[in-house]
Symmetry: C2
Subunit: 360 residues, 2 copies
């Protein structure tokens, strides 16, 4: 089974560079399954992004990593405003002293939770796209909002030509309207960068037209896949670029994979050649497909296992007790499955980042 | 968009009965997203299974629900032995006083964690399928093992004809060998029950042959999909039947859906007819596909959102703030994403079950 799949891996995944990544060979010896972060790569990703979008030009999205320890590194790198997807993220960031300028880039009806969060130290701006979310912001004693505008992805956001009226309504309710946001999530994974740039520009035409109607100084948009394609946005909401995943890796962006799931080989079928690793569906998100293993095929994942077929013959002699590293396909929901990330550099484990912004 | 998809839902999902489920209409008013358990249905599922596999004939698998509160209900229903997939589950069950007879139906190399668990009150039997896992059990001061036998699913388990030799090796190491286990997971989802029964019987021929070589009194096998097809096994390892999911529901077993994810509609696109619910990839496992919504199509899930297209025209008038319930496709990894389940009966929320057996 193993040998006739040897040539198959690179064809199907296209991640040949992963094999050459020295990080894929290491082990940290912690209880498995666990998340490991390659600190050197993560720091390089942070530096590359800070060069392209320095300071407040980037509003890092914490939903991608859900860790105040990692957010603090981004703050130290000059990005003091953050984007959040949940009120738990907002609350956790404020409690960690990282609430200098938080944007909830999502709709909420939970006035009760909002009213408790605004008691904390920090500045919160909430996205609104309807009368109901404006009412919730007001009831929750929020003072600042952005108008969330639909720019082509079928999710939240008011139609662009209704943004001005919503802003008027928000101001009538006593809210300060800081500007607009529009997330072009449907354009993140376009591989042809020329076509991607064209479509981002078209989406941003809608957003800037809405911004003119709305007023305010913020035009918030973008993500890791379009981090360098924005001319009209005043800030970019990227988060995945720090740790990355195999899905984003396939775009050829200047960010490298810094996140792996380390697992232990707990069973080897010597007759038919497969290996069983102790990381499965509960350790890795599957919405973007299987994880990638640099040294062979991933057959399938079950709750607590991944069955692997190694490249080449069994002369490599994989043994029970060996450690392997799997590269997740989607970073955000993978990280959310864990309590912590182990941060690794040449000298071994150098830090532990709690995943402290989980749940809602 | 909505109207031309109206007829599509039942064709693609086959879950017409979900629409008639009164539970799908309710709301509990808790912070969303959250898990809700229909207590009456869960209790009925427990009773149906206890009737088919009473007492120790069932060794419920806690990996499906990861809650000692729910495990206690099963213990009260007569099942005092439990199956676990992780050492965290074993440890949590022992600490909750539910460690009367626990089977770790999985391989582990973590002698350190084992040696701390065996200090707790309870009885632990560990599955082994190699010299290495026997050595780990011994080093971890475990005293009882089962030989895990491969019965057709490419995962753990020694070849059937090597089981006897492994048992001899385990006994030589001072371990008591209580018997064998073999999980026919590849046969769970066969819809033709006649064919399923035939294939289970064939797989169990391998297991009973191994059992003769191994000795001991236990032949542990099965799951929710094959709960009534075993003649040779002394105990069945089912767990999903209590809460169920849409994947298992499609088999037409006598267990009904008792688990939903409740979400709030946070945005409505009145022009094009879609709704956005605040439960996404971080609240629902996607490895078995999208969740099911009884009142329309699920378009796609993103980290914290699900975009829905309601059946029929918009006369139904879905509004921002409405609650919806989504039926997960795979129960085990969905529950593992949450801190708690709200237990609901006619009179509203009657209990809270912490999901206290998460992580590793």
């Amino acid at each position: 089974v193993a040998s006739d799949r040897a040539d198959n891996v690179d064809d199907t995944t296209g991640f040949t560079p992963l094999v050459d990544n020295p990080f894929a060979h290491q082990t940290i010896g912690k209880r498995t399954p666990c998340l490991v972060v390659d600190k050197i790569t993560a720091d390089r990703n942070i530096a590359v992004m800070a060069d392209a979008n320095p300071g407040t030009r980037l509003r890092p999205h914490v939903k991608a990593f859900k860790s105040t320890a990692l957010a603090r590194r981004l703050s130290d790198a000059g990005h003091q405003g953050f984007t959040c997807a949940t009120l738990a993220e907002v609350e956790g960031m404020m409690r960690a002293g990282l609430g200098h300028d938080l944007l909830l880039a999502n709709q909420t009806l939970d006035a009760d939770h909002l009213s408790r969060i605004v008691e904390l130290d920090g500045r919160l701006t909430v996205a609104v796209d309807s009368s109901e979310t404006i009412a919730a912001a007001t009831a929750g004693r929020v003072t600042e909002v952005l108008i969330d505008v639909f720019v082509g992805m079928p999710r939240c956001g008011c139609p662009p030509d209704e943004a001005g009226a919503l802003a008027t309504q928000a101001r009538a309710a006593g809210l300060t309207v800081r500007g607009v946001m529009g997330y072009e999530g449907h354009l993140m994974m376009i591989e042809d960068r020329w076509r991607q740039a064209e479509q981002v520009a078209a989406a941003m035409e809608d957003l800037t037209r809405a911004a003119e109607d709305v007023g305010g100084e913020i035009i918030s948009a973008g993500g890791t896949g379009t981090y360098d394609l924005h001319t009209e946005a005043t800030e970019i909401q990227a988060g995945s670029y720090v740790l990355m995943d195999t899905d984003y890796l396939s775009l050829g962006l200047p960010f490298d994979l810094a996140l792996w799931v380390e697992a232990t080989i707990i069973s080897v079928n010597h007759h038919q050649g497969w290996l069983v690793a102790d990381a499965g569906l509960k350790a890795m998100a599957m919405d973007h497909g299987n994880p990638t293993w640099p040294f062979g095929d991933v057959w399938f994942c079950s709750d607590e296992h991944t069955t692997l077929s190694p490249n080449g013959d069994l002369d490599r002699d994989w043994r029970v007790g060996d450690r392997v590293r799997l590269a997740p396909a989607h970073v955000d929901p993978t990280v959310a499955k864990h309590e912590r990330m182990w941060v690794v550099a040449d000298e071994g484990v150098v830090d532990e980042w709690p995943v402290d912004l989980r749940f809602w």
